[in-house]
């Protein structure tokens, strides 16, 4: 009973949401825009987890829940699984998606394709702006993950890292 939705629709919805928050509502103070977007993601994740965990036994520990996020949850959202999951066994998990769908259509200006490690400032400046703009689009998925996990009773903090597009890795820190 998988319910389907036009992917392009979701894509443009996301971009539109981000732009409306960053460029219109909180144009002058982006530090406010990010939490808002993240909060939206939280609600979405909260609801999705409710739906996607139907018909499955309860998770006995955190790892199971995270695995669920990597496998079923992710493929429900992006028709693919997380490509790589790392953990330090102390409550931090790194989920890497080698081709994150929501970034696939996104291109940061060429000066910055070799990632945030660029040191020369002129490039770094423009590039940092670019990544900053891109990262805006990642608050939503981060929120989704956080919402899903917290609804599964795992309070956590989620951050995203886009050193090399379109690969994207989400870092989940579970609050002890």
């Amino acid at each position: 009973m998988g319910r389907e939705v036009s992917e392009s629709c979701v894509d443009s919805l996301l971009t539109e949401m981000v732009s409306s928050y960053c460029n219109r509502l909180y144009a002058n103070k982006p530090e406010l825009a990010a939490p808002r977007i993240e909060a939206i993601g939280y609600q979405v994740g909260h609801q999705l987890s409710e739906r996607y965990t139907m018909e499955r036994p309860r998770f006995s520990d955190h790892l199971e829940a995270i695995k669920f996020i990597c496998k079923d949850f992710w493929s429900e959202l992006f028709k693919k699984q997380i490509d790589n999951l790392k953990t330090n066994h102390r409550g931090t998990f790194v989920l890497q998606d080698n081709k994150f769908r929501w970034l696939s259509h996104m291109s940061v200006d060429p000066s910055s394709e070799n990632g945030s490690t660029v040191e020369d400032n002129s490039v770094a400046a423009g590039e940092s702006k670019a990544t900053q703009a891109t990262s805006m689009h990642l608050y939503f998925p981060c929120g989704i993950i956080r919402g899903a996990l917290s609804n599964l009773g795992i309070p956590c903090a989620v951050s995203a890292d886009i050193s090399n597009l379109p690969a994207c890795s989400f870092v989940i820190r579970i609050k002890a």
């Binding site: 909260h46 609801q47 965990t53 139907m54 309860r58 609804n151 599964l152």
Partner: protein, 143 residues
């Protein structure tokens, strides 16, 4: 026949309690549901005694009172569904089937934009859907 179904939030707060009897025993049913939470906790905390298989959402028969049977279901999101029935011989499959459909209904209900999370479920659609599920309880044994 099913006497009462209930949804209890993850802080053990009642989200939805509906009785299907003519008699005015709402209070009693509230008590039964309330007590059943103890059993749910017990089941969850020491899984060895818990339901058919480990960590299954379906908790099976929680406890038989003198004239009721109380079944429980615990979702991944720590939301509890309680089913109180007067039937003496209930097929497990029926109950499972019931809970599955009920869960679906619940998920749709909380997706309702007008539903406030962790507040009582007031949606009429949900109520109707539940009553349908309850009516069809046991009729279709096929999972």
């Amino acid at each position: 026949m099913i006497v009462c179904v209930a949804v209890v939030g993850h802080q053990n707060n009642p989200l939805y309690i509906q009785s299907f009897t003519e008699a005015d025993d709402a209070l009693k049913l509230h008590h039964i549901v309330h007590c059943s939470l103890d059993v749910v906790d017990e089941r969850v905390n020491n899984p060895k005694k818990s339901g058919p298989t480990l960590n299954e959402t379906f908790l099976g028969l929680l406890y038989p009172t003198e004239n009721y049977k109380v079944y429980g279901y615990l979702t991944n999101t720590k939301v509890k569904f309680i089913l109180v029935t007067t039937d003496l011989d209930v097929r497990d499959a029926d109950v499972r089937n019931f809970f599955r459909r009920f869960h679906a209904a619940y998920v749709d209900a909380v997706s309702n934009p007008f539903h406030v999370p962790d507040k009582k479920i007031t949606s009429r659609t949900f109520a109707e859907r539940v009553s349908n599920i309850v009516k069809s309880f046991g009729l279709s044994s096929a999972g």
